[in-house]
Symmetry: C2
Subunit: 347 residues, 2 copies
DNA sequence: TCAGCTATCCAAAGCGCTTTGAAAATCGGT
DNA sequence: ACCGATTTTCAAAGCGCTTTGGATAGCTGA
């Protein structure tokens, strides 16, 4: 079923049918109704490629599957993010074109997207500090929005980010107010912008309180459960262990919990934990009573917002970059409590 | 940069350039080299839509984001699955077209895929018992492979599945051999085929051992951490609590662990746990020394295999359905041990 | 009745590619 | 030197849609 046969069946020209279906005014209400009914009844849908070729738009948004090069790990927030993005993109008639990057050359994929006209825009995930993808996309003129920002990149570009610095500053201050003095940081890879910023927030808060940050209490790696577990186990074995840990991922926080359990310690009493919580659909931190005290920000909502921004950017490219900074909520659960007395802990 | 300008720049016809680039034999080696070099140097890539329109192939595989209707939860294995699938699809020149289903009408999306010619085939996730999508896709003639099977569907169709029945039978037998008699099942939604089969394997093993399955020890729901936690907590409060739990997801198993911790019990000693493990990249069950005893099967590898199968199906539609049953490994970790003596437990 | 509008519809070009059918160039054999 | 076979190249049609630039029909007012 294509336009031609539909038009013939209706005794109309392709032009008229096309216009009727696309809401142009040059067609009478009666004809439009007739056309729409016939189209619905015969199950006609315009061929995507033909339509795209004629209009010059692919109605597709490019998305590279965000995997870390080192461990072939898929970003755990990807599913929720893409569910959010996809939902709002669909409203504007877009689908997502998903592709993997062979090796590490995401730039090559973007160049190809552009050359092939495969997509109308892209969403950039997990920006690093000084991320070179931004300049590249600017160069080749492919509309894009970044999920996060990139410290060190001066070009104007569109982004939506969580205020990571502020979130981790607040989390740290919160612990300090509870009397904690030795606060550890289990962070993501610090070449990633979000991790870089979180560390900044953490150290700033410590400094502001007159505390020095101890390198031995700061670690950074891929945010797996095991990472949280191993680092916590290690830190608990230190001569002067931390009384609190701030953690960049709920997965690693689960690892922390496991290490505490193994050591026979009670979370929130013997050791306080605050984690960042992306509010993943499959790993809820408890709705009414959160398990972990957390800096919370829905990654799904971020996906929705990025989708809207990109759609707007594509339809009005000259209106300048869209930027938006989201504040994370600090939700208090049962994983934090006052710092244990030194005496008690030694005894 | 399009074919026309490239051909003009080379002083050749579009035909020759197209053929040179697509490896047709009717072009001399010298010309081919010249064309290829010019194309590489000028960064020419054929326009996707134009090529697709001419060839009638979209070089796109449709994939609906698998979300549960009830809780808007994205399937946690989705990221890893799609990473595997995407990798092997890319080798064959395909990308993934990702879309969300508004409401619950996945069939509508497939019909549209077909009518619009948007994709060359689709991957069907999370089949239910008597899944109606299979008949629909058969009807409309869109090539597809199912990730899993659908009990009750008699039509021939292509699928790749883990032997869920066998996996859970073995897991149950393993616990029985360890002396366990009260074995609980924390299962996924049993209208899903995988959960239906797992329960079958579980009850079969119990029956074979002359044990009756106790409804109070079997529960089924979305496999979240919280579900594992709450159900375990509840079961521990029973008059005659289980000494072992079999669980369908590592996320729920983590919830089980939390409940045990809360109750002051030690996993593997006071209560044994076996979980299914999809070998998710972001939630590894420990490589050398698994945390949980588990029935393991890599969902990423499943993605790779499904991709290969679908590509083959598209290129040779008449060769009949492709089916493959994968066996899960039973890996033994420290979450299982001999059943505690009744006396010891009561005391 | 007819010019001048507007409302309605249409033929054909064009999007960038592949592919068919034919022409031109090259070659070996006599 | 010439012919048939083989290579190599090309012009043009076609994929299914949108959109431009008319054409036609139906009205209005004089």
């Amino acid at each position: 079923m294509n336009l031609k046969t539909l038009a013939e069946a209706l005794g109309l020209s392709q032009t008229t049918v096309s216009r009727a279906l696309n809401g142009y005014p040059e067609v009478s209400a009666a004809t439009r109704r007739r056309v729409e009914e016939a189209a619905a009844q015969m199950g006609y849908r315009p061929n995507s490629r033909a339509k795209g070729l004629a209009t010059g738009r692919a109605m597709l948004i490019g998305q590279v599957i965000p995997t870390s090069t080192e461990h072939e790990m898929v970003n755990p927030v990807f599913g929720d993010f893409v569910a959010g993005a996809s939902q709002n993109l669909a409203r504007a008639g877009y689908d997502i074109l998903l592709t993997r990057v062979p090796g590490d050359d995401e730039g090559k994929v973007y160049r190809e997207f552009r050359a092939r006209g495969a997509v109308d825009g892209v969403i950039v995930q997990a920006p690093a500090v000084n991320d070179e993808r931004i300049a590249l996309l600017n160069d080749i003129g492919l509309p894009f929005v970044v999920h996060g920002r990139s410290t060190g990149v001066d070009l104007p570009y569109s982004w939506i980010d969580v205020n990571n610095t502020q979130a981790f500053r607040r989390a740290t201050e919160f612990l300090i107010q509870l009397g904690h003095r030795r606060i550890a940081l289990i962070n993501g890879l610090e070449r990633m912008d979000f991790a870089f910023r979180r560390r900044k927030g953490y150290t700033h808060a410590l400094e502001a309180a007159g505390l020095s940050s101890d390198p031995i209490l700061m670690c950074t790696d891929e945010m797996t459960e095991e990472f949280g577990f191993k680092k916590t186990r290690h830190m608990l074995s230190l001569e002067d262990p931390p009384t609190a840990i701030i953690c960049s991922s709920i997965l690693s926080a689960i690892g922390i919990r496991r290490a505490l359990q193994e050591a026979g310690l009670v979370m929130g009493r013997d050791l306080s934990v605050i984690t960042h919580d992306d509010d993943l659909s499959y790993l809820k931190n408890g709705q009414d009573l959160p398990i972990f005290t957390a800096t919370r920000s829905s990654v799904r909502m971020a996906g929705e917002l990025l989708a809207d921004a990109l759609v707007q950017l594509i339809s009005a490219p000259d209106e300048g970059p869209i930027t938006r900074l989201l504040e994370a909520q600090l939700v208090v659960g049962s994983s934090t409590g006052p710092a244990p007395l030194q005496a008690a802990r030694l005894g």
